[in-house]
């Protein structure tokens, strides 16, 4: 009896060891390409082509980063991405907190219908909007402006974001609102000072999803913007590859730089991320 219990315990711990080993190997598979990219960004062509594709950079060519910033305009692309993504997130938050507040707290007949209508946006692929928006924008003359990117990013973020917001607004007890109204707050003040502070977690969740989509978006950015001064990182890197096809080091540096903001944002929200991702999976 005693020995068999011991045996079971031992076999379980072996199982755990194997699982742990698997996790370590899988970590290497997930992270090694990144590490390799960082090494790559510190090499010159001679090292890359001369049989040292795998190993440590020797010597490390930090100049690649200088070239990426000074000649390859990576800084401009970075600023553009920050502006476009930042504006998109801000507008989405304003529109969807207002919309979700009206849907869940204000009393009107078509509130559920309105939510359903906006939700269809989650199921419609962006592909269907590409050509029509391209034609509309060129008629109005806003191709090659930041608005041409912000507008579609906002439009296609509304479905998911409104749903996330509405779920949160529903959980707020009525008493809070009633107290505010009794104290003499109008709808505007109740919304701004009583309701908004209560949905902060939803705002973070919406910001995460909107960031991931807008920061990484390629199809619209590639079609609506061809002026170098306005290109975002995704398109900028595509053209970098075209221009610097003969010197790979700076391209590697550009790829690393493009990812740093995402890593920083991740570290800011990493604790909340699992909950955010699962609450974003509201309706699939």
């Amino acid at each position: 009896m005693h020995t068999s219990a011991k045996k079971v315990k031992k076999s379980v711990s072996w199982g755990q060891r194997i699982v742990f080993l698997f996790l370590c190997i899988y970590t290497i598979i997930q992270l090694y390409p990144m590490v390799w990219l960082i090494f790559f960004s510190l090499k010159n062509n001679k090292q890359i082509f001369g049989g040292n594709a795998l190993g440590l950079p020797d010597p490390a060519v930090f100049e690649n980063y200088v070239v990426a910033f000074e000649n390859a305009k990576i800084g401009t692309y970075l600023v553009n991405s920050v502006i476009v993504t930042g504006c998109t997130i801000l507008i989405v938050i304003v529109l969807t907190t207002m919309g979700a507040y009206a849907i869940t707290r204000l009393k009107w007949k078509y509130s559920n219908l309105f939510l359903l209508f906006i939700t269809t946006g989650m199921m419609i692929p962006v592909h269907a909007a590409l050509l029509p928006l391209f034609i509309s924008f060129s008629r109005v003359g806003i191709l090659n402006t930041r608005i041409a990117l912000i507008l579609p990013y906002v439009g296609f973020a509304l479905g998911l974001s409104t749903n996330i917001m509405a779920l949160f607004f529903k959980t707020i007890p009525d008493e809070l609102e009633e107290a505010a109204v009794i104290d003499g707050c109008g709808i505007g003040k109740t919304f701004l000072f009583v309701m908004l502070p209560m949905v902060k977690p939803a705002i973070v969740t919406v910001a995460i999803f909107t960031y991931l989509d807008a920061w990484n978006e390629l199809m619209f950015a590639n079609t609506f913007i061809n002026k170098a001064a306005l290109k975002t990182l995704t398109v900028g890197i595509m053209s970098l590859v075209g221009e610097y096809a003969t010197s790979w080091g700076p391209i590697g540096a550009g790829l690393v730089i493009a990812t740093i903001p995402s890593i920083i944002c991740y570290s800011l929200v990493s604790k909340r991320l699992p909950d955010a991702i699962s609450s974003g999976a509201v309706k699939g």
Binding site: L23, Q30, A53, V126, L131
Partner: protein, 294 residues
């Protein structure tokens, strides 16, 4: 109270901005795509109404490889569900049950999601590069191959190579989604199963998986729809080549509209993608996993 909350002006003020942008960007655009798709149009001369001719051209006597481009995303969807789902679920269960260093592993597995598809695409095109790529370097060092292989230039290897890159990138995302679902299951349920003599594997099979079914279903829907819409990584890695080997519906649509200037015909592909995604969403939602309360 109710009087204040049913103020018509306030309601309009709160929903109008959202409604207007949504109507223009999403609804009007889809309508336009549908309208264009019924015409023959190059964007310059006048549109000529052709009815459903563009849709017929997609399927009957098709010459531009649309059928292959339609099949590839379906293959990707099946492969992704078969590989991503079990792996993501396994990782989620292991991490949510609290293995040593689970926070570190969670971050490590999620990092590829943070990289944009363009960065990811460039990274993988370097890995697959015939001259200095990582894959060839490893295989050469191990003595498996003598000279470099052009992984993305070869019709036989290109498709599987792009799929590997795409599947690799998103496992972390689905892992995190399932992670919260597993985490919500009370530990007592799991422990009770183990006390009853179930092994960890059996407990996972009979307790965790049934209880996480709603989240697993959501994951399947997201994986399938994601595969049907796939564009970025393929556009960056191969743009559908070589010789349409890696063509998907969306890359073919892009080429048809912006390279060949077939606005009407290209729009019928866009509408096809919309209908396909809606259809699969509806079909997958016919599957209603049992909901447990605990």
């Amino acid at each position: 109270m109710n009087k204040i909350l049913s103020n018509k002006k306030a309601i309009v003020f709160f929903i109008l901005p959202e409604l207007l942008i949504f109507l223009f960007v999403v609804i009007y655009s889809v309508g336009c795509s549908f309208y264009y798709s019924l015409h023959s149009w190059n964007g310059i001369t006048d549109k000529v109404f052709v009815g459903v001719q563009n849709y017929i051209s997609l399927f009957v006597n098709n010459t531009d490889g649309f059928l292959k481009a339609m099949m590839n995303p379906l293959i990707l969807a099946v492969l992704s569900v078969a590989i991503q789902l079990p792996l993501a679920l396994f990782l989620a269960i292991v991490l949510a049950r609290g293995i040593k260093g689970s926070n570190f592993f969670r971050t490590a597995f999620f990092i590829p999601v943070l990289f944009s598809s363009v960065v990811m695409g460039q990274l993988w095109s370097m890995i697959y590069n015939p001259n200095y790529g990582l894959l060839n370097a490893i295989l050469e060092n191990l003595g498996i191959i003598k000279t470099g292989i052009a992984w993305l230039g070869n019709k036989n290897t290109a498709l599987i190579c792009t799929f590997v890159a795409m599947i690799w990138k998103y496992i972390g995302y689905y892992m995190l989604l399932l992670y919260s679902a597993v985490k919500r299951i009370p530990a007592e349920l799991f422990e009770a199963a183990e006390i009853d003599g179930a092994t960890k594997f059996k407990a996972a099979w009979h307790v965790i998986i049934p209880l996480s079914m709603p989240s697993i279903k959501t994951t399947v829907v997201m994986i399938v729809i994601g595969a049907l819409k796939a564009f970025d990584t393929i556009y960056v890695l191969t743009n559908g080549g070589p010789d349409h080997a890696t063509e998907v519906t969306s890359t073919l649509m892009y080429t048809t509209i912006f390279k060949k200037n077939l606005y009407g015909y290209g729009s019928s592909m866009a509408v096809f993608i919309v209908i396909e995604c809606l259809l699969f969403t509806v079909l997958l939602n016919l599957w209603k996993p049992k909901q447990y309360t605990y």
